[in-house]
Symmetry: C2
Subunit: 362 residues, 2 copies
């Protein structure tokens, strides 16, 4: 028995209760619960329930604000600067993305940046909100420094994700949601725990040399930008990470680069910078959803190099995971994660705990 | 004697004369000349004088329009859709970028897309125009299909570049200008001509397998997206290439994906899609240029892994090339390129030809 199935609403309500138990405003707790469960639903377990204790700890310690609402500091027809008031990332993210969408409906584009924010879960969650109104959505955040710039030895940029969602016909869509590092830190940690080597191009050691030993990446080394070494174009991934920093920390006047607090160290306020964009295709050439559908079909219809690995478009792996959840009637969690979270909850006096009786036998 | 030095203005005037000789409107010819010489000046010889004959041929054959001006088809406070009227790419690009900047000054963001465009030279040229007004500039274009999506065997996306320029203090800046393929096709061609192998992660063969043989990439294979193979994150580069296509061909209603004409085949109108964005930092947190300068200093000040290879930021290699040009008093061209272009010009009755008497002995 290694995995169990739990219904979405059950997980959401559990996370909400844990957050409320440490003093979080109810609708803030709900916002966080929704983003985290959507992360799991899409198969990004590194950004879901698995991280609940980090948010609980941040609220409990007071390093993240439990009350208040984000405030618009400056505004024009198409832009806004928001003070996130050190609230939970999803509270700031939802506020900013709604504002960007409102502006895009009015003038075609909405570009909203926030300082004073915190971890906001999967970047794609915010970009995808624009899909509901048939618009293009984008979302960016800076993060704790985990990536070593090309030619350097030290982490000075975050995994700084880029998310872009664009609507096609009949509910189909393109959803890019990617860190600008070659891989997420979690993947390196997983290989380390298993005692496996990592592919060359994921991370470097403390001397800035590419390594296949996950321990060297985790102890003094760092992740490398997409593209890997300089010879294979790693400077492009580094440039993209910097672009995200320009849109986030620099434009918003938040912390940036190696001024952002160290990953998993919560000795000071995060003050992350985030950027949310909505673009209304109706302001451009008619027929956008039809062309999107055609663009996706062209790629999906390609003859694959390996007959067992079909050509996908961004968002397809997540779509597969969501279908699996629907079929099995819940999200599949490793029992150790569920037990750990139930322990956390018990200490907070939360009940009922997550059920562990429905085994995922798939 | 392999390289000669030629003054910028001399090259510009030469390109202008060649273009006018085939019937291009004078200020259109000037726009093209400026972008191409700026490409060379920045060290991107693949996008400079070296490509003049392609533009000459396009105008001469009538496949690209020699007269007219771009037209705004649809407009809002922050957006515009432009019909490039099949004019030279730089004519369309300058028109759109000016419009985006005007809108950004008024409402904070300008987002302008064009259909009916042609090759526009280096993407960075347009993004950098925003720097003159202390704004952030972005530029994207789709291109002929040269890149094979992850898991596929066939080229269905272009090298689709992303350029983002952001101003720092005292004329310093961040200038990202990158294809979303691991490398440019020209780099593979160069290795082929020299008989060298290419690093793994640049291109694939006709079966979609990564190869180190440049001939296999050029004959039926293709470039791979940044990140290389699926294991090292190539699907991210593929996703970024698709994102550029969404902003360009799809938003503009231009040709897209494998509907764009084959590279170097000019049997039909290009009808490229392009996207130009300006963002005014004054609409966001005060002190943008100071933070930009600090962000760049943090990276440049890092201890390098190799003492002989300092840590750079996007735009620094081009800055070095421009300083070299200034010091030597001209742009350094390989004599074979100059002779080839002089031959082209002679056939068009252009004089004076490019001078070849000043040898680059650096």
């Amino acid at each position: 028995m290694s995995r169990c199935l739990i219904n979405h609403e059950t997980v959401k309500s559990f996370i909400e209760k844990c957050m409320v138990a440490v003093g979080t405003k109810e609708h803030h707790a709900r916002s966080l619960a929704e983003v985290l469960v959507e992360g799991d639903h899409r198969g990004h377990y590194s950004h879901g329930l698995n991280r609940m204790d980090m948010y609980v700890k941040d609220i409990k310690s007071g390093i993240c604000a439990k009350d208040g609402e984000p405030v618009v500091e400056k505004e024009s027809a198409s832009t806004a600067l928001v003070d996130g008031k050190n609230l939970l990332g999803p509270v700031v993210g939802n506020f900013c993305m709604s504002l960007a969408m409102k502006k895009a409906k009015e003038v075609g584009v909405g570009w909203v940046v926030a300082h004073g924010s915190n971890h906001y879960g999967i970047a794609g969650y915010y970009a995808m909100q624009a899909l509901k109104d048939n618009m293009i959505g984008m979302s960016f955040t800076n993060t704790s420094p985990l990536v070593v710039p090309t030619r350097a030895k030290e982490c000075t940029i975050g995994t700084n994700p880029i998310s872009v969602a664009a609507p096609a016909k009949d509910g189909d869509s393109f959803v890019l949601d990617m860190a600008t590092s070659a891989v997420a830190l979690g993947k390196v940690e997983l290989h380390d725990r298993r005692g496996d080597v990592i592919p060359e191009g994921w991370g470097c050691d403390a001397q800035g040399k590419l390594t296949t030993n996950p321990k060297e990446v985790l102890n003094g080394g760092g992740l490398v930008p997409i593209g890997g070494s300089e010879a294979t174009g790693g400077y492009k991934g580094y440039g993209l990470g910097m672009m995200v920093e320009v849109f986030c920390g620099i434009l918003a006047g938040a912390n940036y680069s190696n001024n952002v607090r160290t990953w998993k160290v919560t000795d000071k306020v995060a003050n992350l910078g985030q950027c949310f964009v909505a673009i209304n295709p109706e302001n451009f050439a008619p027929g956008f959803p039809d062309r999107m559908t055609d663009l996706l079909s062209i790629q999906r219809g390609l003859d694959p190099a390996d007959p067992d690995a079909p050509v996908l478009v961004a968002g397809d792996p997540e779509r597969t995971n969501m279908k699996k959840c629907q079929k099995s009637g819940g999200i599949s969690y490793h029992i150790s994660v569920v037990n750990y979270m139930n322990d956390c909850a018990q200490k907070l006096g939360v009940s009922p705990l997550l059920p562990t009786d429905k085994i995922d036998s798939s």
